[in-house]
C-alpha cells in the first residue's frame, strides 16, 4: 500500500504541475505555449491553390512545389500577417492523378479579395523552347518546357537598353539566375543555338529572342513591350520571387473574429459543464471509485491539454469534438473497471482483491476497444481531409492518454486508499447505485 501511496502522491504532484503549466501558459499572453487555434476558432482566411504541374517533368514536381511554397511564404510575409502558415499537399494517389495543392492560412485576415489580390501579384515565370512545325501550308508554333523556371531566379533589375526606335531608351527587365539556374541557362542556350527561347510570364509568351550563342553568367534580358511603370512593377514583383508553375484558387474560406470567439467560449462552457455533470454522475453512482475516476479524469485532461500545447496541435472545432469523444472513452474505461470490481465485491472478495481483479478482467475489453479506435484514428488521419485529420489527431492522442490514465492512474489512486477489509463506511463507499458492497 505504501508503494501505491508514493505513486499516487507522485501522480498528484505531476497532475498539479501539468494543470499549472496549462493555466500559466494560457494566462501569459506572451507565452509560446498558448493554444494554437485553427482558423475556424481564431478567425482568419484560408486559401487553397491548385498548382498546375502539367508542364513540369515528374522528377521536378517536388522541387517545384517547395519552391512554390517558399515564394508564397515570402509574399504572405509581405502582406503583414502574424503567424501565417503555408503548407503543401499532394492529393493521394488513390485517385489516379496526383494533384498538388498549396494551402495558405492567414490568421486575422477576413478580406479574401485583398488577400487573393496580394498573392495574385506573384508572377509565374518559365522559359520554353519554341518549335515550329510545318504541315502543308500551315505552321503551328509549339513550346517545349525547358525546366528553367522562376524557382531559379535570384532577382531582377530594371535596365534601359537601346530600343528599336533609335534614340529612345526602352525599359528592359534583367533576370538574374542563381548558380543552378545560370548553369541550366548556359546549357540550354549552348544546345539550342539558332532556336527561339520564349520567356513565359503568367502563362503568356512575352518575349521570344533567338539564341545567338551560349550565354554564361546567368543573366537574361526581357526587352520590348513594357512601359516604364510596367517594367518597374514587374521587377519589384519578380524580386519577391517568381512561381515555377501557375496556380489557381480552388477554395477559400474566411471566419470572422466574432464567430470564432463565440465558438471558443461556448465550447469551453459546454466542456466544463459537461465534465462536471459526468463527474457528478460518476460520484453519485460509483461513490469512492467515481470520485477517484473524476480525479484521474482531471489529470487526464490536464495531460491532454499539455500535450496539445507542447506538440503543438492546432485546435479546431472538429479537434475539440475529438477531445470530447476521447474523454468519453476514458470515462468508459473507468466504468468498465468499476463494474468488474463491483462484481468481484459481490462475490465476497475483499476490496483490494476486487480492485486488482477488476482491473485485470477489464483489461482485454479496454485493450481491444482502445486498439480498434487507435487504428481507425490512424486511418482517418491518413485518408482524411484537413477537417477530418484535425479530429483524428486529437482523437488518437486522447485514446492513447485514456489507455494510460484508466489502467494506471485510477488504479494507483484506488489502491492507495482502499483498505483490506470492507467495514463501516467502506461498505457504503465501495458500493454503487443503491447497493452497498
Amino acid at each position: 500500500m505504501t508503494r501505491y501511496r508514493v505513486f499516487a502522491a507522485i501522480a498528484l504532484v505531476a497532475g498539479f504541475l501539468l494543470t499549472y503549466f496549462v493555466w500559466a501558459t494560457e494566462a501569459n499572453p506572451l507565452s509560446s505555449y498558448r493554444f494554437k487555434l485553427g482558423l475556424d476558432l481564431a478567425g482568419g482566411t484560408e486559401l487553397v491553390y491548385k498548382a498546375d504541374m502539367s508542364q513540369t517533368a515528374a522528377a521536378d514536381r517536388a522541387d517545384a512545389l517547395s519552391a512554390l511554397q517558399g515564394v508564397i511564404e515570402r509574399r504572405v510575409n509581405l502582406f503583414g500577417v502574424a503567424e501565417p502558415l503555408v503548407q503543401t499537399e499532394e492529393a493521394s494517389a488513390l485517385y489516379g492523378t496526383t494533384e498538388d495543392r498549396l494551402i495558405v492560412d492567414l490568421p486575422g485576415v477576413t478580406n479574401i479579395k485583398a488577400a487573393v489580390d496580394a498573392l495574385g501579384q506573384t508572377p509565374t515565370l518559365d522559359f520554353r523552347l519554341a518549335t515550329t512545325t510545318t504541315v502543308g501550308t500551315s505552321t503551328t508554333v509549339g513550346y517545349a518546357p525547358t525546366g528553367l523556371t522562376g524557382r531559379f531566379l535570384s532577382g531582377a533589375t530594371l535596365g534601359f537598353g537601346s530600343g528599336a526606335t533609335a534614340g529612345i531608351a526602352s525599359p528592359e527587365v534583367i533576370l538574374n539566375f542563381d548558380s543552378d539556374g545560370a548553369k541550366l541557362f548556359e546549357k540550354i542556350t549552348s544546345e539550342h543555338v539558332g532556336e527561339r527561347l520564349a520567356i513565359f510570364l503568367d502563362g503568356q509568351p512575352i518575349s521570344e529572342p533567338t539564341i545567338q550563342e551560349a550565354i554564361p553568367g546567368g543573366q537574361a534580358t526581357i526587352t520590348g513591350r513594357f512601359t516604364a511603370t510596367e517594367a518597374r512593377d514587374l521587377v519589384r514583383n519578380l524580386n519577391f520571387g517568381a512561381l515555377p508553375v501557375p496556380i489557381t484558387l480552388e477554395s477559400s474560406s474566411a471566419v470572422g473574429p466574432t464567430l470564432g470567439a463565440t465558438a471558443i467560449s461556448a465550447g469551453v462552457t459546454a466542456g466544463l459543464i459537461g465534465f462536471a455533470i459526468v463527474a457528478l454522475f460518476m460520484i453519485a453512482w460509483y461513490r469512492l471509485p467515481g470520485l477517484v475516476a473524476s480525479l484521474a479524469l482531471v489529470e487526464y485532461l490536464a495531460f491532454m491539454l499539455a500535450v496539445i500545447k507542447a506538440i503543438p496541435v492546432t485546435l479546431t472545432a472538429s479537434g475539440i469534438a475529438g477531445l470530447i469523444i476521447s474523454v468519453g472513452m476514458a470515462v468508459d474505461a473507468n466504468v468498465l473497471i468499476f463494474e468488474r470490481t463491483k462484481e468481484e465485491l459481490r462475490d465476497g472478495k475483499t476490496p483490494r482483491e476486487a480492485v486488482h481483479i477488476g482491473f485485470a478482467r477489464a483489461w482485454t475489453a479496454i485493450r481491444d476497444g482502445h486498439l480498434t479506435m487507435i487504428i481507425s484514428g490512424v486511418i482517418l488521419f491518413w485518408l482524411g481531409t484537413s477537417i477530418v485529420q484535425g479530429f483524428a489527431l486529437v482523437f488518437v492522442l486522447g485514446v492513447l492518454a485514456s489507455f494510460v490514465s484508466a489502467v494506471s492512474l485510477s488504479r494507483v489512486f484506488l489502491l492507495a486508499i482502499v483498505p483490506e477489509h470492507k467495514e463501516g463506511v467502506w461498505k457504503f463507499l465501495m458500493g454503487s447505485g443503491n447497493r452497498n458492497a
Binding site: 465558438a263 459526468v278 468508459d332 481491444d368
Partner: protein
C-alpha cells in the same frame, strides 16, 4: 434472459427503425453541403434587424449568380449559398447586401467543384477503410474463439451492426435537414466516424465477455448453450453499457445546449447515434450471433 428469449421481437424493432431510417433517406434525400458539391456559403449578420429573405434574393438577383438559397440562422444572421464565387463576385455580393444597412460577415467558405467531389470520395473511402480494419482486428482479437462462431463471424456481426448504426443517425439527419434546412457537411462525416468508434467499443465489451465465458466454460468443462452464454454476457455488461451511454449523452446534451452553433448538429447526430448504438449493441449485436452460430453449425 429476456432479450435472448425475445430476440425476434428485438430484430423486428431494429427492422422497423432501419426501415424508417432508410425511408427518411430515400424520401427526403441527403442535402449535400458545399464541402461535397462545391459552391460558396456565407453567413452575414445584421445589427439593425435582418431583412426578409425575398428582399435579399432580389438584391442578389442582378448579380447573375444562378440559384441563390438564403436561410435564416440564429437571431440576426442569414446564410447564403451560391455556386462557387470568385473573389470579385464575393465583394460584389457583400456590397449589394450592405446597401442601406450595416452587415458583418461572420464566415465565408468557397469550395471549387473538383475539390468538393474529392471530399465525398475521400469520406467514403475513410468510412469503408475504418470498417474494414475494425473487422480484421476483431477477427484477429477473437481468433482463439472457434466454437460455435469463428473469430471472423464476430467481425461480420460487427459490420452488420455498424452499417445499421450508421444508417439510423443518417436517416434521422435526413429528416432533420428536411425540416430545418441543415446540410450534410464535413462535421457530419466526423460524427459518423466518431460513432463508428463508439459503437465498436460498445460491442467489443459484450463480445469480450462472451469470449471470456466461452474460455471459462472450455477450461472448466461446463456445458452451457450458446444462448445462455450470450444472455449472461449481455446482462452482466448491461449496467456498463447504459452507464457509459448515459455519461456520453450527458456530455452531448451540454454540447447541444451550451456549445457552439457550429457543433450543434454534430452533437445531435452523435446523440441519436449513441442512443441507437447502445440499443443495438445490447439488443441486437450479441443476439445476432445466435442465428449465425446456427448457420455455421448446420
Amino acid at each position: 434472459m429476456y432479450i435472448i428469449n425475445h430476440r425476434s421481437l428485438f430484430f423486428w424493432i431494429t427492422g422497423i427503425i432501419l426501415a424508417a431510417a432508410l425511408g427518411a433517406i430515400l424520401t427526403y434525400g441527403l442535402p449535400l453541403g458545399i464541402d461535397f458539391t462545391g459552391g460558396s456559403l456565407m453567413q452575414v449578420s445584421y445589427k439593425e434587424g435582418r431583412p426578409a429573405i425575398a428582399t435579399v434574393q432580389e438584391k442578389l438577383s442582378v448579380l447573375s449568380l444562378g440559384t441563390v438559397s438564403v436561410r435564416e440562422v440564429g437571431q440576426d444572421a442569414l446564410s447564403i449559398r451560391t455556386r462557387t464565387q470568385t473573389p470579385e463576385e464575393h465583394e460584389a455580393i457583400l456590397s449589394a447586401l450592405s446597401a442601406g444597412t450595416s452587415v458583418t460577415e461572420l464566415s465565408y467558405t468557397s469550395v471549387g467543384p473538383a475539390l468538393g467531389s474529392q471530399f465525398a470520395t475521400k469520406a467514403l473511402w475513410a468510412i469503408g477503410a475504418v470498417i474494414l480494419v475494425i473487422v480484421l482486428y476483431i477477427a484477429f482479437a477473437f481468433r482463439h474463439v472457434s466454437r460455435p462462431v469463428p473469430g471472423w463471424g464476430y467481425g461480420l456481426t460487427v459490420v452488420a451492426m455498424l452499417a445499421i448504426d450508421i444508417i439510423v443517425p443518417t436517416g434521422f439527419y435526413a429528416a432533420y435537414c428536411h425540416f430545418t434546412g441543415a446540410e450534410v457537411d464535413s462535421l457530419f462525416i466526423v460524427a459518423l466516424l466518431s460513432l463508428l468508434g463508439y459503437c465498436v467499443n460498445d460491442v467489443i465489451v459484450i463480445f469480450d465477455r462472451i469470449r471470456e465465458h466461452l474460455a471459462k466454460n472450455d477450461r472448466m468443462n461446463i456445458k452451457e448453450s450458446f444462448e445462455e452464454t450470450i444472455g449472461k454476457s449481455i446482462s452482466e455488461t448491461m449496467t456498463r453499457s447504459i452507464n457509459t451511454a448515459l455519461t456520453v449523452v450527458l456530455a452531448l446534451l451540454a454540447l447541444i445546449y451550451l456549445g457552439a452553433e457550429a457543433t450543434r448538429n454534430f452533437a445531435l447526430v452523435m446523440l441519436v447515434g449513441v442512443a441507437a448504438g447502445t440499443f443495438s449493441s445490447i439488443a441486437r449485436s450479441a443476439p445476432l450471433l445466435i442465428p449465425i452460430a446456427k448457420w455455421f453449425n448446420k
